[in-house]
Amino acid sequence: MEENSVIFDSGLTASKKYKKRSQISEIWHNFKKNKGAVLGLIVLAIIIVTSLIANFVIDYDTKIIRQVVSERLQGPSTKHFFGTDQYGRDIFLRILYGARYSLAIGFLSVMVSLAIGGVLGIIAGYVGGVVENIIMRLCDVFSSIPSLLLAICISTAFGASTLVLMFSVGIVSVPAFARVARAAVMTVVDSEYIEAARAAGATKMRIMFTHILPNSLAPIIVQVTMRVGSAITTASSLSFLGLGVPTPAPEWGGMLSESRAFIRDYSYMTMFPGIAIVITVLSINLIGDGLRDAMDPKLKR
């Protein structure tokens, strides 16, 4: 029998010199290499922590909403880091508090998109046929309406509130998620390695979990991270137009809307909330970009 057996020796043992990592730690390793992504992660963590403790540390009624006419329209100082607005409210505190709205709306609206769009997409990809056609045509219709207009329509119809805002921003992204989910399901289900797994005797469950799921997840995760950032900007745009979170809530877009009237002489009112939005969305986008690069095996250098 000796002559028939093939001996695998030195070739394999030599290549074990560098460690093999699990998939997740491989992704993390790649992610860490991206300095921008790591920076984004740190900044986002700070913002999240701030938004969580803001409620406990800053008293809503006294600091955020209460109007102190004697202190109105003061520029940045040691007492009020970012100055005060036209009602005497401390802008710095309002911005810190406002993080909650942006983050909540950003993440929750994307969850809405993912839930609705993801399910629709998976159904479309898996079931196929007439169902797939209907779902895809519906997606086409919804995505041909310019997204901001659609969000404006929905917000107008159901009234301006945080909940409606989440929903309308979420609905706008549903077609994109449906398409990504459907494409992911379709490519994976048809792949040769699925056939190979079946040929090797894997059960349907095993195929689903070890093959289909991990490979469909990557584009979906990438979409999620991309969309959170744009959800936040869309939400603040809507608030800017008066269709979002109602005043006096310290939502950044709403703050910018109010600051317009004072832009000439009190420009700080316009600068700071905008910078807050940019920093938040930028860190999310850096993370998303880093995640995408880390997860794409083709880009391994």
């Binding site: 207009l149 404006i152 329509c153 119809a157 745009s237 137009l241 832009i263 970009d289």
Partner: protein
């Protein structure tokens, strides 16, 4: 190929009908209606009801919608409740301003994005690439309305170089165009970069180099043309978005375009105007997308072949 075009245009019709359906119902659902807006607080409720009767607003919703649909199929978009002018005419009056803006933005965006994107891809992982990536991410992280406000602050109020509102002078278009163009540039640049990266790995570039082609020719001629398709897609969707989403820019800069028209109509519950305007805008962006799809055929012969082969394969998934 004309069969393909005709098929695409015909497909627009059911889409427009569906869009009109969705929009009409959503707006109608909104609390209050146009009579409330026009009449204001002074008019009595009875008087308002009389107005509603006259305008046919008290009829049940399906009935109203069918009436609307009937008009639509005749090509008649109805009359704006607020201004009493023909919806189509009002829209067409405001359209040129929006088209100007959308075109100017796209030009600005292309001038910035394509060279940056190509450079970033060719020098992948260098500092040029990292800078461009960060700039690109920054571009999509900045809300348009805030950028607009900042631009007004710096270039208009402080430096006085450009006007901040309206479109009276030829310089008026600069600030709005740059504001939106920068945001668009970010996305186009990212797409250019990733598309070029895909192409740069291809074997046929190696063939070109083995022929003795210079690196510049390899990138500009051989690689770029192949990378063009996703870039064209993004340009198309961006242009379409600029047409409809210019709402915010037009608000900030008081630009008399179609976007502002639509928001005002929504606020006025002018159902006819809104539906009509959204339908027209959607049609316009769909036409833009169709033009882009046709452009594909000029760039990639395989796509051209697909269009010619069977009219039922519309090339989109």
């Amino acid at each position: 190929m004309s069969r393909y075009v005709i098929k695409r245009l015909l497909l627009l019709i059911p889409i427009m009908l569906a869009v009109s359906f969705i929009v009409y119902f959503i707006i109608d659902f909104a609390p209050g209606d146009v009579v409330d807006i026009i009449a204001g607080n002074e008019m009595s409720e009875q008087h308002k009801q009389i107005m509603r009767e006259e305008m046919g607003l008290n009829d049940p919703l399906p009935f109203r919608y069918l009436r609307y649909m009937a008009g639509l199929l005749r090509g008649d978009l109805g009359i704006s409740y607020v201004t009493n002018k023909d919806v189509f005419d009002v829209y067409m009056m405001r359209l040129p301003a929006t088209l100007q803006l959308a075109t100017a933005c796209t030009v600005v965006a292309l001038l910035i994005a394509i060279p940056l994107g190509i450079n970033a891809a060719v020098h992948q992982n260098s500092w040029i690439d990292s800078c461009s990536t960060v700039l690109g991410l920054l571009g999509i992280s900045i809300p348009i309305f805030w950028l607009g406000l900042m631009m007004i602050l710096v270039f208009s109020l402080n430096l006085g170089w450009f006007p901040s509102i309206g479109n009276d002078s030829p310089l008026s278009i600069v600030l709005p165009a740059v504001t939106v163009g920068v945001g668009q540039a970010a996305l186009i640049m990212r797409t250019t970069r990733s598309s070029m990266l895909e192409v740069i790995r291809q074997d046929y570039l190696r063939t070109a180099r083995a022929k003795g082609a210079s690196e510049k020719a390899v990138i500009r001629k051989h690689a770029f043309k192949n990378a063009l398709i996703p870039i064209l897609t993004v340009i198309g969707t961006q242009y379409g978005a600029a047409l409809g989403g210019a709402v915010v820019t037009e608000t900030v800069f008081a630009w008399p375009g179609v976007g502002r028209l639509m928001v005002d109509s929504i606020n006025n519950r002018d159902t006819q105007m809104v539906t009509g305007a959204i339908i027209l805008t959607t049609m316009l962006s769909s036409v833009v997308i169709l033009l882009i799809d046709l452009a594909y055929a000029f760039v990639d012969p395989r796509i051209k072949a697909r269009y010619m082969k069977r009219g039922d394969n519309l090339g989109r998934k």
